[in-house]
């Protein structure tokens, strides 16, 4: 039962599910994601209720630049793919390739964050501040919550990489890789909704 029954070298095929502790963590994390769905669902609901209340500020149609947001979307979607590659490498017990894919994932996450910060700064210059209107408050809260999740994910995955370096790929570190990948996919799915509901609907149905 204890974590070190499996030394590195004879890992099971799915090292992330080898111990009860790990299975608990994965299940618990699914439940946590369930809670996150409600969290973002409520944020979306608030945004949808307030998105036309622009007051004197700019409207969604005036603000959003779809090409850039589309680029950010592609970056984040790709990072989801690279985290899948990392988990696959883990299943093949290929530590080096796993770590490489994780690093690529982080870099893509950072690129996304960079674009988002640039975007927010740009909006503020155009008079779309946090306090401008109900639309702006709910926009920054929703998109900002997502951005904070991405930032948290970047730090988290970096810590996981550090641990894999220190302790190797074991039945203790494997679930960490796996769970951080689950989290990363979740953030990605949320972004797909943000892209649709906030940006596309803002431009097209605005």
């Amino acid at each position: 039962m204890s974590a070190h029954d499996h030394a590195e070298g004879h890992l099971p095929h799915e090292p992330e599910k080898a111990t009860l502790d790990a299975r608990n963590k994965i299940l618990g994390f699914w439940l946590f994601l369930g809670a996150e769905v409600v969290l973002f669902g409520t944020l979306f609901a608030a945004f949808l209720a307030l998105r036309h209340s622009v007051g004197d500020g700019p409207t969604a149609g005036e603000l959003f630049q779809l090409p850039m947001v589309f680029g950010a979307t592609m970056i984040l979607l790709t990072s989801s793919l690279t985290s899948v590659f990392a988990v696959q490498a883990m299943h093949h017990h290929n530590k080096k390739s796993m770590v490489t894919w994780l690093i690529v994932t982080i870099l893509l996450g950072l690129a996304f964050l960079g674009l988002e910060i640039y975007e927010f700064v740009e909006y503020v210059h155009e008079g779309h501040k946090f306090t401008t209107s109900a639309f702006s408050s709910s926009f920054y809260t929703l998109v900002g919550f997502h951005g904070a999740h991405v930032a948290f994910g970047v730090v988290w995955i970096a810590l996981v990489i550090g641990q894999v370096f220190k302790k190797g790929l074991t039945v203790v570190t494997a679930p960490k890789v796996y769970i951080s990948a689950m989290y990363w996919h979740f953030i990605d799915v949320v972004w797909v909704f943000i892209f649709t509901v906030v940006y596309l609907m803002g431009k097209v149905a605005g």
Partner: protein, 618 residues
């Protein structure tokens, strides 16, 4: 397992205060929840008594109007979030792992973190009394009243931040107990063999997981409005006040079922044990619980009938609300049929359970009355609503908690509570309760609005308010008797047997009271519903073990949860008083602890068979 103990990690074991601050043992955490929850229950009770004394007679001036507003706000908030929920968490922690034959919960560390965040959130909220800025916009904190224009002081900030921090703890608890019940059941303990209390907690946890995040968002939005000039609820800038009502009640109605479902579970256990009968209609009980939880998410707008959502919305929510009465009725009849023909023992626990049944029925009936939208235009914001929710919460949940505490006390502490004092508690509390709240139905029907700090004489309110206050004092006396009982029992020797009621039916009654640190020396094999009763009926004196005696792995204690919660507590103050640096430091402490937790592996430690025989007591 045996091979693993060669690694025999030595872990520092703490004693005294440090033991309680660092414990990850669900039994100790249960006791902590009980102490903290009961403490807040006393504070909330004191506030209630002051409210009732102010309303004792017309034009009374014991407290001023603004103090009165603070009292009702803090009373409601404290009772729901800091007393009722933690007392339920106390029983969950004390009982659930034992009922499913597990050695602990799925996430012992998070369990401790959940307790400490709740505790510090509660402390933060109550420090408002000393800061002289007390929340006063009602436990529902409707905007614009709770917005920065009408509540310009820091009062509502205490509400927002205190609840936010305490809410984290609750959410963690919900996730933890769901995972525990899904993954940690003993061999043979299938879902349809789970004790009813475990089922109730399973569904309650699901409700917590899906309802609390809505509150989180609502509180964040209100906090942003108040502290950072956001415009979520600021109508002048395009915000929407009704949005707050929706968010609050999308959380709030499931919340009332989070409160009552565990009580349903407790009553099922107590009634079945003390009638010496299998719970009548077990599968219909399970089904009813699931259905109530499901419907509980679709009725929130019954709190908003008078907001003006229109006849279609009101009609739909009205019907959905009335539907809940059906599965609730199923439960009531099942309890009655369980009692029917049983050899009933009127222990204190069972008195509370039997008192619960008619009392809760009355609360349900007024609920259905309120569910009729046109009628609600008459009842809304009157004492009729106050009577309704006190019948379901005090007459339901609190009677249920008292039943559970008397029933499981020997399992938690190794001593049976004094039955004579217990019966005095029951009768004073029960009679006091009905005196207090029965008349409030009629006060409401006569038109007395809720949340008013006084009233003019001669409107027919005077006598009933007087009676109501007398009842409240009687309830206070009942609570004090319970407190005395705790101390009296404390002084007695710890001599409760494994199965002190002799009629125990589920696994918690197969192990010592209180159980050893690891609960079960050998994981039991479950062969049916009412696992222990079944074995007893076949003449066995113990469960069949599902594993040989061996070394038992335990998680190590940790101070991190405590420090993390302190960090959030500091951050809360930082945000409130616009000291963003302080807030940053607080958050950094919390995040830093998370990093430490992630980097440093917890190997835990082992308890060897020899030590097990010495009996390591919790």
């Amino acid at each position: 397992m045996a091979a693993a103990h060669a690694h025999g990690h030595k872990v520092k074991r703490y004693s005294g205060l440090m033991d309680w601050l660092t414990t990850v043992d669900h039994k100790k955490i249960g006791i902590l929840y009980f102490i903290a929850g009961f403490f807040f229950f006393l504070i909330g009770g004191l506030e209630a008594i002051i409210i009732r004394i102010q309303l004792l007679k017309p034009m009374n001036d014991v407290v001023a109007g603004d103090t009165f507003n603070e009292l009702i706000t803090m009373h409601g908030t404290t009772m729901i979030f800091l007393a009722a929920m933690p007392l339920l968490f106390a029983l969950m922690n004390a009982v659930i792992p034992l009922q499913i034959g597990a050695r602990d919960v799925a996430f012992p560390f998070l369990n401790s973190l959940g307790f400490w965040t709740f505790f510090f959130g509660g402390v933060l909220l109550n420090l408002s009394w000393f800061a002289g800025a007390v929340p006063d916009a009602g436990w529902t904190s409707y905007v614009p009243l709770a917005g920065s224009i009408y509540s310009s002081g820091h009062g509502v900030d205490y509400y927002v931040l205190g609840l936010q921090i305490a809410g984290i703890g609750t959410l963690l608890g919900g996730i933890n107990f769901m995972a525990t019940i899904i993954n940690m059941r003993a061999p043979g303990l299938t879902f349809m063999r789970l004790p009813m209390f475990t089922w109730a907690i399973f569904i309650t946890s699901a409700l917590i997981v899906f309802a609390f995040p809505a509150l989180t968002v609502g509180l964040v939005a209100l906090m942003f409005d108040r502290l950072f000039n956001a415009n979520f609820f600021d109508v002048a800038n395009g915000g929407n006040g009704v949005l707050w009502e929706h968010i609050f009640w999308v959380f709030g109605h499931p919340e009332v079922y989070i409160l009552i479902l565990p009580a349903f579970g407790i009553i099922s256990e107590v009634v079945s044990t003390f009638s010496r009968k299998r719970l009548f209609g077990y599968s219909s009980m399970v089904f009813a619980t699931v259905l109530i939880a499901f419907l509980g998410f679709m009725v929130w707008a019954h709190h908003m009938f008078t907001t003006g959502l229109g006849p279609v919305a009101n009609g739909l929510f009205s019907i959905a609300t009335m539907l809940i009465a059906v599965p609730t009725g199923v439960k009531i009849f099942n309890w009655l049929f369980t009692l029917w023909g049983g050899s009933i023992r009127f222990t204190t626990a069972n008195l509370f359970a039997i008192g619960f049944i008619p009392t809760f029925v009355m609360g349900g009936v007024t609920g259905v009355m309120l569910a009729s939208a046109p009628a609600d235009y008459q009842y809304h914001d009157t004492y009729f609503v106050v009577a309704h929710f006190h019948y379901v919460i005090v007459g339901g949940l609190i009677l249920g908690i008292f039943a559970g505490l008397h029933y499981w006390w020997p399992k938690m502490f190794g001593r049976i509570l004094n039955e004579t004092l217990g019966k005095i508690t029951f009768w004073t509390f029960f009679i006091g309760f009905h005196l207090t709240f029965f008349v409030q139905h009629f006060l409401g029907l006569l038109g007395m609005p809720r949340r008013v700090y006084t009233y003019l004489g001669g409107q027919g309110y005077d006598d009933m308010n007087f009676i109501s206050t007398i009842g409240a004092i009687l309830m206070g006396i009942g609570t004090i008797v319970f407190l005395i009982n705790i101390f009296v029992t404390w002084a007695k020797p710890r001599n409760a047997s494994n199965d002190p009621w002799e009629d125990g039916r589920s696994l918690e009654w197969t192990i010592p009271s209180p159980p050893p640190e690891y609960n079960f020396k050998q994981t039991p094999l479950v062969r049916g519903y009412d696992a222990w009763w079944k074995e007893k009926m076949e003449g066995k004196t113990a469960m069949t073990p599902a594993e040989p005696v061996g070394s038992i792995h335990m998680p190590s204690p940790s101070i991190l949860p405590f420090i993390m919660s302190v960090g959030l507590f500091i951050a809360g103050f930082g945000f409130m008083y616009d000291q963003l640096i302080v807030a940053g430091v607080g958050l950094a402490i919390t995040l830093g602890c998370m990093v430490v937790r992630s980097l440093v592996d917890d190997h835990g430690f082992h308890i060897e068979p020899e030590e097990q025989d010495k009996g390591v007591q919790a």
